[in-house]
Amino acid sequence: MLRALFVVVAAILAGASALVLTSGGALTGAADVRAELMVTPVTPDLGGGTTRVVEGSQAFTFVAPNSPAERQRVFSFGNRVFNTKWAEYPASVQSFDGLGPTFNRNSCSGCHTFDGRGRPPENVGDPMDTMLVRLSGADGKPDPRYGDQLNDHANLHVTPEGRAIIDYTEVHGTYGDGTPYTLAEPHLRFADLAYGSLDGDLFSARVAPQVIGLGLLEAVPQATLEALADPDDRDGDGISGRVNHLTDHDGNPAAGRFGWKANEPSLREQAAGAALGDIGLTTSLDPRANCPPVQTTCSDAPAQADPELSDSFLDRMVTYLQTLAVPRARPVDDATFQQGLRTFTAMGCAACHMPTMQTAAAPLPELANQTFHPFTDLLLHDMGEGLADHRPDHEATGTEWRTPPLWGLGLVPVTNGHDRLLHDGRARGFAEAILWHGGEAAKAREAFRTAPAADRDALVAFLKSL
């Protein structure tokens, strides 16, 4: 039977898609897709052909080794766009002006430093250098005064919207063996608000995630996501998993894949959205400056008619994001890696953090027909009250989050000098991140919490090796 499954997988790899699924596919088909992905061998080459053996602070910054040589120029240019510290309009370098009027940082890499991961401020009240706060009114729509994100910086003569402050209270808990642990529960408040109180609004603090392997995730067929989804938990495993259905920029139905709540369907839309929301750069997708009507210093600021981030620059940055290499996992040896994977699966983590995904057709040949190991199903799951931001986003509810990929997380202490995890960076290391899991993941969390210390350590070691 197993042999037969491998044959099927091989056929899929060869591009002869063995499954044709309608949206929401027949249950058997869905089960087949999941089963086939679950029996695919997992290797330390997490990014398939895009895997590169790299360690150190630059581990997230390389081009995929299977990219053709001609990709290099475009990759480097995209990288440069990603790193550019934008200047206010008008500047001598006309291609790189248009910062603000309000913004969070003046470059993409300001938050995604070394293509890596942001963190909450080290001290209460420090600036949010690598994270931001999303907003909406109580009705779930953007706040009419502030929009959908708090911009804590602004050009000269423009008023910043205000700043967010996180402080923490300690939450105490105990492992099954009696070992105590402490979690840090974040509390968000605001200061220097320029346009009135945010009482009654909904907020969501977000750190910048590492940006590796995104081209592969973008190329996973939507049919796979629909097949993996189980919104009504018809298989009775306690895990639902929903696609965040939304409309893309061209007005076509699409599956959300990117963002903490899977609210962006493609890297192009994700990047354009971040350019406007985080840096204040207009694009052909979002041609209007991010100035709510009440913010007159924002609307009065000098601006140019053309998109500040041109299509040609945006497209090259998207190619860059699509082709960043995934670092190879760094297990002690293969046996340890496989044992860690078994522990991970046995505790129930793999139900959502699916070890294996596959692409078929892709916009770039190096992304096509790849089997890779991101440890995500890209679906929304109810994670319980402990993690909830209560801020809906398209079809995502206030308690749902998209399963984040786990690849590269073990390198963050080296690439970015910290070990903060989860959407708002509240967790200090893997154990705390797991202990925050609730809702559909409560069972898996309990499996971890009540496991012998040796198993817990083995799981954490496995995660660190990714």
Binding site: G56, Q58, V63, S67, N83, S92, L156, G417, G429
Partner: protein, 433 residues
């Protein structure tokens, strides 16, 4: 490194090291109140082993001590029996000598700027511009000491940041009231410039060589020449000139202080980064040296400064756009590579990396001699001013020459990677090498 080349600020890493120097002690000369700055530049004598775990509970959940190794993976230590003691020592001495020369260059520039501010005339402005152009090479040859955990990483963002946010500093065409200089409500001080409303970390500050360049030349709005700021901008007592004068003095003093700090971090007979560097296992030190050579050649210069400008279609997409002196930036970046290769530094000569490579592969050393000469010749031949090359049509000779220089830098960088393989150290070039 993007790598930055990500912008190679190292903010994230340095900021959590928890070992920041008291800024007041380091910058008292230029601004006593900078001690209040929350985001001081990072520690200069960064020892990776001093890194503290970023939070975490007992049980080793913290970040641990991230230490990068430059050793070639899976290499047999017994395989590398060469002695690199004298070459590594010479490199450290050469780095210090280079930064000392850059420090002197910055001080000479400061003297010329003081003369301009003392008596603003067409002549003193021209002299200040000339001093800026003359001082640049002394700094450019030190850029080959970037791209590892050296002390420059904590300062580079404020020494050589680019692009410049011109409209944050001063008036620009279409916005005569732009900039902190023309906003009497804004305090002009070092603290304000570092902790302004745009810069909550060091990577966003508007300081350094190019800020000074912008103040001396003004915007380059000419298709054929550099910027042309009138000397009347510096006459005391008129308009916002006093604020402009203050800004120029503050950023100049800061540049001098920054480069002096990096110089001190490499000084002999002190406890500083040089101490750390010289105590490294030899192959770890060689890894840093070779990565600096390879990444400057094959990523920073080849890609970030040349290829991307050729590809962006923007005539001013060049580092020294106000003064139109970008060609000299290229020439002296490569000269810095040559200095390390040959061991002939400004004011210091010793065994170079060439001598080390020759110990393990004489043929490769000779080959790199040739590649370096080829790159140097191709860079020298480039159109000057560079913005004319950027403005040139796709198939012109100027463009072909530029592409040839780009290609030669890639080959040169790859040869340093091959040298690393012979010496047992890992060279990772962000452009995929």
């Amino acid at each position: 490194m993007t790598t930055r080349r990500k912008t190679w600020i190292g903010v994230g890493l340095f900021a959590i090291a928890g070992t920041a120097l008291p800024v007041a002690a380091t910058l008292a000369s230029s601004s006593p109140d900078v001690a209040t700055a929350r985001h001081s530049a990072g520690p200069l004598a960064l020892d990776p082993t001093l890194m503290l775990a970023a939070g975490g509970e007992e049980g080793g959940e913290g970040g641990g001590a991230p230490v990068e190794s430059y050793l070639l993976p899976n290499s047999d230590p017994a395989q590398y029996t060469y002695d690199a003691t004298s070459e590594i020592a010479a490199y450290a001495a050469g780095v210090h000598a280079s930064y000392a020369a850059a420090s002197d260059g910055a001080k000479t520039l400061a003297t010329a700027i003081a003369a301009l501010l003392d008596k603003p005339t067409v002549e003193t402005l021209a002299a200040a511009r000339k001093a800026w152009t003359a001082a640049r090479p002394s700094y450019l040859v030190t850029e080959v000491y970037r791209f590892y955990d050296g002390p420059i990483e904590a300062r580079e963002g404020e020494i050589n940041s680019w692009p410049m946010n011109e409209a944050f500093i001063d008036y620009v065409v279409g916005n005569p009231d732009a900039g902190i200089i023309n906003d009497p409500k804004s305090e002009i001080s070092l603290v304000k410039l570092i902790l302004n409303n745009q810069a909550s970390d060091e990577s966003d500050v508007t300081l350094g060589w190019h800020a000074i360049e912008f103040l001396l030349w003004g915007q380059d709005l000419s298709a054929t020449g550099p910027g042309d700021r009138p000397v009347s901008d510096f006459i005391p007592g008129q308009g916002n000139n006093d604020r402009r004068r203050t800004y120029l003095k503050v950023v100049t003093d800061r540049l001098v202080a920054d480069i002096a700090q990096v110089t001190e971090a490499w000084a002999p007979d002190a406890t500083n980064y040089a101490t750390t560097f010289l105590a490294l296992p030899p192959r770890e030190a060689i890894g840093r040296i070779l990565n600096g050579l390879a990444i400057l050649s094959g990523s920073e210069l080849m890609s970030e400064r040349m290829a991307v400008g050729l590809d962006s279609g923007d005539q001013e997409d060049e580092h020294s756009c106000f003064s139109d002196t970008t060609h000299q930036d290229f020439v002296y970046d490569v000269k810095g590579v040559e200095n390390v290769w040959t061991g002939k530094y400004p004011g210091y000569t010793g065994p170079g990396v060439r001598d080390l490579v020759a110990k393990v592969d004489a043929g490769l050393a000779t080959e790199i001699d040739g590649l370096l000469a080829d790159t140097t010749a191709k860079i020298a031949k480039l159109g000057d001013p560079w913005d004319q090359v950027l403005a040139a049509a796709p198939d012109t000779q100027a463009r072909k020459d530029a592409e040839a220089a780009v290609a030669s830098l890639g080959v040169l960088a790859d040869s340093f990677k091959r040298a690393g393989e012979k010496l047992g150290v890992l060279v990772q070039i962000p452009t995929g090498g």
